[in-house]
């Protein structure tokens, strides 16, 4: 249930502005890969090219190849809707559907694309996903209450439950803890550790300790200057990146000497 991502020669544009340039990397299945780098270097942009969300932005355009095992996500005739079902996403700010109950939020993806399932089957998946997101015990008595009534950390776990309910191959997370308190952050970090047994996980974070704690591999992005496109500087085992990176800029960034 987890796939390898193989990116080669990928650039992404907003209109005429090239936000990221010529990125190539491999993301291993059943592992956590962290993206770090200064603000504006294109981490979010790159993440969104991995499930074809980038092109949703007006003017958004992508060049290059993203292979999910042996399928090119940008190949001719590939349906972006199908891609997004395989590659799930969790956003920086928790965004449960405000008009839906907790239950319906988790079930939302299951009801898409005309897939008709039995109620009992959906019940089962909702429970399993909420348990998978470590939220079940907190909400099992109020599944029919609105999802917007939960705390920020609970909402974020609800969004994770919603994303894993459709059983994606890959889970992309864009700074999933940046709006949360330390305790909720810890809960989500633990969760990421559990989820990687099943999914390929990519997480963007500004928190070095977090990257060091949760990820197996870390990719460092940087940009030469304002208005320049962001680039991948290096990607390696997290331990190596944090102890003995092969590029000086990485070490400078991690030790806080810039960025």
């Amino acid at each position: 249930m987890a796939k390898r991502i193989d990116v080669s020669g990928l650039s992404a544009y907003y209109g005429n502005h090239r936000a990221i340039e010529d990125i190539s990397m491999t993301v291993e299945p059943r592992s956590v890969t962290a993206f770090i780098g200064p603000s504006g270097c294109g981490k979010s942009t790159f993440l969104r090219t991995l499930n074809r969300m980038h092109e949703v932005t007006p003017g958004g355009r992508v060049e290059g190849k993203v292979m999910l095992d042996d399928e090119n996500l940008y190949g001719a005739g590939v349906d972006p809707v199908a891609v997004r079902r395989t590659v799930g996403m969790v956003f920086q700010r928790p965004n449960p559907f405000p008009t839906m109950s907790i239950y319906d939020n988790v079930a939302a993806g299951l009801r898409l694309n005309g897939s008709a399932r039995r109620k009992s089957e959906i019940d089962g998946i909702v429970e399993k996903s909420l348990k998978g997101a470590n939220l079940w015990n907190e909400v099992k008595d109020r599944l029919n209450k609105p999802g917007a009534g939960l705390s920020g950390g609970q909402q974020q776990r609800l969004c994770i439950a919603r994303a894993i309910a459709v059983e994606p191959q890959v889970l992309l997370m864009d700074e999933p803890c940046s709006a949360l308190d330390p305790i909720s952050t810890l809960a989500i970090e633990d969760l990421i550790g559990e989820l990687k047994e099943q999914f390929t996980i990519v997480i963007v974070t500004h928190n070095m300790q977090q990257a060091a704690r949760v990820s197996d591999r870390t990719a460092f992005f940087n940009l030469a200057g304002v208005g320049q496109p962001g680039k991948l500087i290096e990607i390696d085992e997290t331990q190596r990146i944090f102890s003995n990176p092969s590029v000086q800029a990485t070490e400078d960034y991690i030790s806080g000497r810039f960025g």
Partner: protein, 327 residues
């Protein structure tokens, strides 16, 4: 991290004795004063109208609510609003049934489907249509729409007359019916409802739409999961705005309908009337008492509008817990 408040620090929301500044006090006085003035003026108007209306109704020789004819100038006067209330409600209902789905569709097309090159001029066109005075719609309706709807009327009569409501008693009569009025009203209110709905659709937070997209929703599913639920109360408000215009519309009805005091379920028959059209038609020839009687009918229209608005607010409030406004 320091979680405990240091002693003596106010929690941010506690009300502190306000420090008043001159500017604040002047502004407060002005806003409070104009608020009170407005209320007093409105109360005065309401009292004035109600007193005259009750006076007229008390002298009505027949039952005000069930009588069909409007003969306020007779001795003794005999008038009632049954036909008018029925015609007003039915024509507005027809207008809403047609206009709301069409408007929501156009608004969605502009905000979520059309490429920008098409959406901008289209939105501009709708704005323009909303600004056209109703007399223009009225003239166009009376001169153009009535003859051109005859075909539709006959078609409905041929295939749907078994329903009763689409039975045309005299197929040769012109299409000056409540049905035609409803269609014209629909055309008139589509631009307003479209305008307001489009504005609401535009304000749907990106985060909600992206949540649906990232789950693998198609464009229509995004609309269904994120856009429509968020915009629901806005669509209702927009519809109420349109309904308000439809209920009070005068010229468009006066130019189309051949008014006659018949209350008929057959929507294609050229009979009926509405409050506004009746007031416009009878006002010139009315004496003082006749005018009071017309005021009474106007008040009933006002009450109907209030009731409809209240119902809409109830619908909006019922699901406040789930409203997207605070997310």
């Amino acid at each position: 991290m320091d979680i405990v408040n240091s002693p003596g620090e106010h929690p941010p929301n506690s009300r502190q004795p306000a420090v008043t500044r001159l500017g604040d006090r002047v502004f407060l006085g002005m806003s409070r004063g104009s608020g009170i003035l407005l209320l007093v003026i409105m109360a005065a108007i309401a009292v004035f109208l109600t007193v005259r209306a009750i006076h007229a109704i008390s002298l009505d020789h027949s039952d005000f609510f069930t009588t069909f004819e409007w003969n306020a100038n007779l001795q003794p006067p005999s008038f009632g609003i049954a036909v008018l209330a029925y015609g007003t409600v039915v024509s507005s209902l027809i207008a809403m049934i047609i206009a709301v789905p069409v408007s929501v569709g156009i608004a969605l097309f502009i905000s979520h489907y059309a490429p920008r090159k098409l959406a901008t001029p289209l939105a501009y066109l709708v704005d323009l249509l909303a600004a056209v005075p109703s007399i223009v719609y009225g003239l166009w309706g009376g001169l153009y729409l009535v003859p051109h709807l005859q075909g539709l009327n006959l078609w409905l009569n041929e295939y749907l007359s078994w329903t009763g409501i689409f039975h045309k008693s005299d197929p040769s009569s012109a299409a000056r019916s409540l049905f035609t009025v409803g269609i014209l009203l629909a055309i008139m209110i589509v631009p307003i409802i479209t305008n307001v709905s489009r504005e609401v659709f535009r304000q749907v937070p990106k985060a909600h739409e992206e949540a649906a997209l990232a789950l693998g929703a198609t464009r229509w599913e995004v609309v269904r999961m994120s856009v429509l639920p968020f915009a629901r109360s806005g669509i209702i408000s927009a519809s109420m705005l349109g309904l308000g215009r439809a209920l009070g519309e005068t010229m468009a009805v006066a130019t189309v309908l051949s008014a006659s005091p018949v209350l008929s379920a057959r929507l294609l028959d050229p009979v009926g009337g509405t409050f506004a059209q009746n007031i416009a038609a009878k006002f010139a020839e009315a004496d003082n008492f006749g005018r009071d009687a017309l005021i009474a009918s106007g008040l009933v229209l006002f009450v109907i509008t209030l009731l409809v608005n209240g119902a809409a607010r109830l619908i909006i409030a019922r699901r406040k817990e789930y409203s997207g406004a605070n997310a």
